[in-house]
């Protein structure tokens, strides 16, 4: 029943209705399946079963097969719900946001394509299938980011996103191939089995001191890092804000960027068992670093969408960190659960933040903080929902963010105190920057508005309200019962001391931003100047874009690409054209045979007859 209906094919929708209806069906089915899976079927022998349906797609040898199928598993069901809900909200919102836009139909078609790709990715049964849908997701994001294709910056951003993720996917593909070669299978079930050969024999082949499988897992993580905008493959995410805001909400808040996290979670048993979790440590550190890095940059940005983009990067860092510090059995698997939980709640409130930002941008037609201020009088619903989301991301109880972030910090504390400190610091920074833009938009001096900004139409505010509802109640779902590394479920308790510290850090952040930004004052600027050069660095995103541009342009482009192009033009093309020219010349010369003179024909006749006679006589003589 679950099969087949979840694949939302591309529809040439003549209006948004079809898109929305499709999504409604999909969402309903997602909820129904979740209900079925978790509650009705429930646990067998204390473990949630994985339901797999697959068909053989390409068969190379017995051990090398690529199947297509559907894998139902706690995290995939959860992801289905996340993707469906967010996508549905975005569809409804887009009907209002994109009204009157000439490419309306195309937009909905792309949205459907994207949703389809996400479903496929989430339900993949083996590495190759996930790779296929991974690429599809990349393509749809390219189409959606570059939606305003007449704007040069949008096109450039789309290209950048696609190229960077493609580059990461190279690592991914190599990792897949290594795994396939050394373990003989691509299937997740076989790979992830703790008693299976893939995990037990991990030490059998080594390469430069580390097991081959560790290298493979690191390469796969590189692929995930590209998609999830981990440092240093993060450069595409800020620029991807060129797309329409609902697209940012869908792709860059809730779904595509979590694909990387999902991938690591999917392969989690391998990450944990192989080489005693070496790869997992790397994941944790990369995640923590990205979280810190992105939060620092986010404090300085003036474009609200970019602040939200860096915020996403930071939260993704949290998720990777949580996965990295996780164990496997029972309570040890807290990190795993926390990561997935945070994924769920983050999707809700980040999408909400983006949609609110979109609502504001739609009203004012500008992305920049300096044009905004004092909007709370004009857009009350947006004000309240944004506040709810901001409180959620800051980790204020009893909203959803508090619960998930708290679990992450607990897991980090139990594993590695250094990472815990970083996580705590970032929590404070998160609160700070999010309230900075909140106050900047809705409080403070009024920006000069040409026309009075109106509250957004109903189709845009309805999703805001629904997502706000989820942000509030999402924290209360007993996720740990449902999702855990060994699929057995366990109970969690609130760790009061740590929770208090986390909340305190959040409140300090809020208070600081209140001081700086609620009313117009000089404090912020003085503070910024105090940091001096560091501030400029952070503002320019640590000049990473310039560095990458230099490397690619100078070295790759001019050096390698141009030479290759020249070689191609001269030699390869030259050969082809040369062959054509040779044929022409030869035919010019042979033209003379058809001279039209009977005598020449007679001569040929005689000569041919003589030659034949010679041959015959020669043969006859011998």
């Amino acid at each position: 029943m679950i099969l087949g209906i979840f694949y939302n094919k591309i529809k040439p929708a003549v209006s948004g209705y079809v898109g929305v209806l499709g999504l409604l069906t999909a969402t309903g089915l997602a909820f129904y399946s979740a209900y079925n899976y978790f509650i009705v079927i429930g646990k067998t022998e204390g473990v949630y079963q994985t339901i797999v349906e697959k068909t053989v797609w390409m068969n190379f040898t017995d051990s090398l097969r690529i199947d297509m199928g559907i894998l139902i598993d706690p995290i995939s069901v959860m992801m289905l719900i996340v993707v469906s809900v967010i996508s549905l909200m975005v569809h409804i919102y887009s009907r209002g946001y994109m009204k009157g836009d000439p490419g309306y139909t195309k937009y909905f078609a792309f949205l459907s394509l994207f949703t389809f790709s996400m479903y496929g990715l989430v339900l993949a049964t083996n590495l190759f299938q996930i790779y296929i849908f991974w690429e599809l997701v990349g393509v749809s994001s390219y189409l959606l980011i570059g939606y305003y294709y007449t704007k040069e910056s949008a096109v450039a951003a789309a290209k950048k996103a696609f190229v960077v993720t493609r580059f990461a996917d190279l690592g991914f593909l190599i990792g897949i191939l290594i795994i396939g070669y050394y373990t003989g299978t691509y299937d997740f079930e076989t790979l992830n089995n703790p008693e299976g050969t893939s995990i037990l024999n991990w030490a059998s082949t080594s390469f430069m001191g580390l097991s081959v499988l560790t290298w493979a897992l690191l390469l796969i993580f590189i692929g995930g890092a590209g998609k999830s905008a981990m440092f240093p493959l993060h450069i595409w995410l800020p620029d991807a804000m060129e797309g329409p805001t609902p697209v940012s909400a869908l792709i860059h808040a809730a779904t595509m960027v979590v694909a990387g996290v999902y991938l690591v979670a999917r392969l989690f048993p391998m990450y944990y068992f192989i080489e005693d979790g070496f790869a997992l440590n790397i994941v944790a550190f990369v995640g923590a670093f990205t979280a810190l890095f992105a939060a620092i940059i986010a404090i300085t940005q003036t474009d609200i969408k970019r602040v939200l983009a860096f915020s996403t990067m930071s939260q993704l860092g949290y998720m990777m960190l949580a996965l990295g510090v996780s164990g496997y059995e029972g309570h040890e698997g807290l990190g795993y659960m926390a990561s997935m939980f945070h994924l769920f709640t983050h999707a809700m409130f980040k999408a909400l933040l983006f949609l609110c930002a979109g609502s504001v941008i739609h009203a004012i037609h500008s992305n920049f903080l300096k044009d905004m201020g004092g909007l709370r009088k004009y857009m009350p619903i947006t004000n309240i929902t944004f506040l709810i989301a901001a409180l959620a991301i800051a980790g204020v109880p009893p909203l959803a963010g508090f619960w998930s972030k708290d679990e992450i910090l607990v897991a980090a504390f139990e594993h590695n105190t250094f990472l815990y400190v970083i996580g705590l610091f970032v929590a404070g920074l998160t609160a700070f920057y999010i309230f900075r833009i909140y106050f900047g938009i809705f409080w403070g001096k009024e920006g000069n508005y040409k026309d009075k900004p109106n509250e957004s139409p109903g189709s845009m505010t309805a999703p805001l309200l629904i997502l706000a509802f989820f942000s509030i109640v999402g924290g209360f779902i007993p996720v740990s019962e449902f999702i855990s590394a060994d699929k057995a479920g366990f109970e969690t308790h609130v760790n009061y001391p740590l929770a208090a510290i986390a909340v305190f850090a959040g409140l300090i952040g809020i208070a600081l931003s209140w001081m700086f930004y609620k009313k117009e004052n000089e404090l912020a600027d003085k503070f910024a100047n105090g940091f001096g050069a560091f501030y400029t660095w952070a503002y320019h995103k640590f000049y990473f874009d310039e560095l990458y541009l230099f490397v690619t342009k100078r070295i790759l482009f001019n050096g390698i690409a141009k030479t290759a192009a020249r070689f191609d033009k001269k030699y390869v093309d030259g050969t082809m054209v040369g062959i054509g020219n040779q044929t022409l010349n030869t035919s010019e010369k042979i033209k003379g045979i058809q001279s039209g003179k009977v005598q020449d024909y007679a001569f040929a006749f005689i000569a041919g007859a003589v030659v034949l006679a010679i041959i015959c006589i020669y043969l006859w003589m011998n």
Binding site: K591, G592, Q594, S595, G596, K597, V598, Q599, D600, A602, F603, I606
Partner: protein
Amino acid sequence: MIHGISIYEILTVTSILFFIGVYGFITRTNLISILISVELILNASVVNFVIINKYLFPEVLQGVYFSIFIIAVAAAETALAVSIIINLYRQISSVEVKDIETMKY
């Protein structure tokens, strides 16, 4: 038969005549010269028939009959060729081979 002359010599003579005709056919630039060369070729073959008949099969006369036919055919063909040449001369006022190369590439 001719006493003292073997068949080989006569066949040699006719072969030489044949190839003289072929040479003339391919080399000449004038249509009537080509016609003359064709006559030479045909004559050579006539003599061939006759000689073989006389030397190898003296009691039958097939060679002679066939030679009569060849001569008749040659005459008819020459008449037709001349009429074509005259017609062509009326059209292009020339009987040179190089002026009738319309079937050229």
